[in-house]
């Protein structure tokens, strides 16, 4: 009986795993092979990337955007997590509202954001009502457009960061807060010396998961600014694929992105491993 159960388990693992490998990993490997192919094995596609200034801008933006996104999302997510786990929770509507943006489909979020941020959009309309000058929130090649992308992305996904950090906050034993209070620590000191160090694993976990998604950013940039105003590697590859009709260069760019994501995830995994094997490490 046990042997039969073991055999069934093997099938139950192998079938879905093989299905995912053939539908996702095999195409990715095919893309990797094609990226080294120019009518014969060649580094030509990567050389073409290296000659294109737009590729370097896309790579730079692809590194800057996630840093800005993570900083904003972690800060806002932490503030919101502290708010919804506080004893004085406030009305339930705050809790629902805190999660609501994530319940909206991403493409709808981006549609709304376009109407808010376009030159004659609601944001500029509101600024004028309050007697302030309007701005070009999505103007190509500006840092303002990058800021818009970061804020819109954060609006959509901060609820997830909030939930991850709230889960972490709830694992901190209340006795520690009691002890800190008896030692005369004020709120800021308690936050700095109790909450933050104990929350660090949750923060690192959230940063890794969100970082992976932020590196792969595609739709936010494409819908808000088009493929070229704030180029990232995904939209650059998409542009090479559709507009430039250069599928192999597109695949080479996609592989550069895959490499960056993999390195980031490996680094994150190593950091977590060192962290958990050395529990006494300072925060």
């Amino acid at each position: 009986m046990n042997r039969q159960a073991r055999r069934l388990r093997a099938v139950f693992v192998a079938a879905p795993a093989l299905f995912m490998l053939t539908t996702l990993v095999v195409p990715a490997l095919g893309g990797l092979a094609a990226s080294f192919d120019r009518g014969g094995p060649s580094f030509g596609n990567y050389a073409a990337l290296a000659r294109d200034p737009m590729f370097w801008r896309a790579t730079l933006d692809n590194l800057l955007l996630p840093i800005a996104s993570l900083a904003l999302e972690l800060a806002a997510g932490l503030a919101m997590a502290l708010m919804i786990t506080a004893r004085a929770k406030g009305p339930a509507i705050v809790q629902v509202a805190a999660i609501l943006p994530f319940a909206i489909p991403e493409i709808v979020v981006l549609t709304i954001a376009r109407y808010l941020l376009m030159p004659r959009g609601y944001l500029n309309g509101a600024l004028i009502e309050f007697g302030m000058p309007p701005a070009q929130w999505l103007a190509p090649h500006g840092s303002l457009a990058m800021l818009s992308v970061v804020v819109v992305d954060a609006w959509h996904v901060t609820p997830i960061v909030m939930l991850m950090l709230a889960a972490g906050l709830q694992t901190i034993p209340p006795e520690l807060y009691e002890a800190a209070r008896l030692d005369g620590a004020d709120r800021l000191a308690t936050f700095w010396y109790v909450t933050l160090p104990l929350l660090a694993p949750a923060i690192v976990g959230a940063a890794i998961l969100r970082g992976i998604d932020a590196l792969r950013i595609f739709s936010t940039v494409l819908v808000l600014t088009g493929p070229e105003a704030v180029p990232v590697l995904s939209t650059y590859a998409y542009g090479q694929w559709t507009d430039a009709q250069a599928p192999r260069v597109a695949m080479a760019a996609a592989m550069v992105l895959a490499l960056i994501v993999t390195l980031f995830a490996l680094g994150g995994a190593l950091a977590v491993r060192r962290w958990s094997s050395d529990p006494g490490a300072p925060a």
Partner: protein
Amino acid sequence: MKPGARHSGERGGGFAMLGAALGGFVIAAAVIPLYLLAKQALTPELETFAWPPVWLPRDITLRNFAQVFMVRELRGAIVRSLSVGVISAASATAMGAMLASAMARASAARRVGFATLSGVRLLPMIAVAIPAAVMLAAIGLYDTSDALGLTIIHCAIAIPTAALTLYAAFAAVPAEVEEAAWLDGASALRVFLTIDLPIVRGALATAFILCFILSWDEFGFALLLQQTNRTLPPLLYYYTVFGNVGPASALAILMTVPALCVVIALGPTLRGALISGGSR
């Protein structure tokens, strides 16, 4: 006992005000954009194009929604999105259940399972979608009107969500229940079908809904694999970019309703799954 509030004593006034301000901001950030979208969907385009903007609706109409259902392309996209979502979610839930049940019982399966699931989650959409488009074209599954190629891909990217949602449920099934059934002579497959699955049916429903929403919202693969036979997200993208404000807003509202209902109805039970899921 909730942390963070242990010190709301005499010095709490400033923090309470800060919390109230943050709460107000959170509500405004959630409600105002949705309100403006709903206003655009329910008023004539002329009102939407007014400058400076009109903040309160003057002329309520359902014409934009009527237009959505009159355009054949849109009706087709709604049907296609539903079919891709239902088929991919059902298959992903089935395969996720297989994987999760094995992972819940054997450590070797757990290792292989988690390694595969996290490896798959690392792949950037663009690195899969472009070569997949080429390969699907070679076997005649690229941009077909039944969107079979996209259905297969959506199923594959949803399996991690399904498996991680179901894992805890399978792990909670007592091993003694299975062993008792074996002693009565039931085969392992029969135990899985008639004992395990009924016990975890609640989690199966949750997994199906999450996978459906994942497919319903998915934009990148849909954009690249269904160039002309579109599903709803890419169609909304083209409507938005090419300035059909009225129908685009109505369509956006229609797309939001299912996802919103799910998150509000299932609420807290979704949290764990939402945290682990997602893909881009």
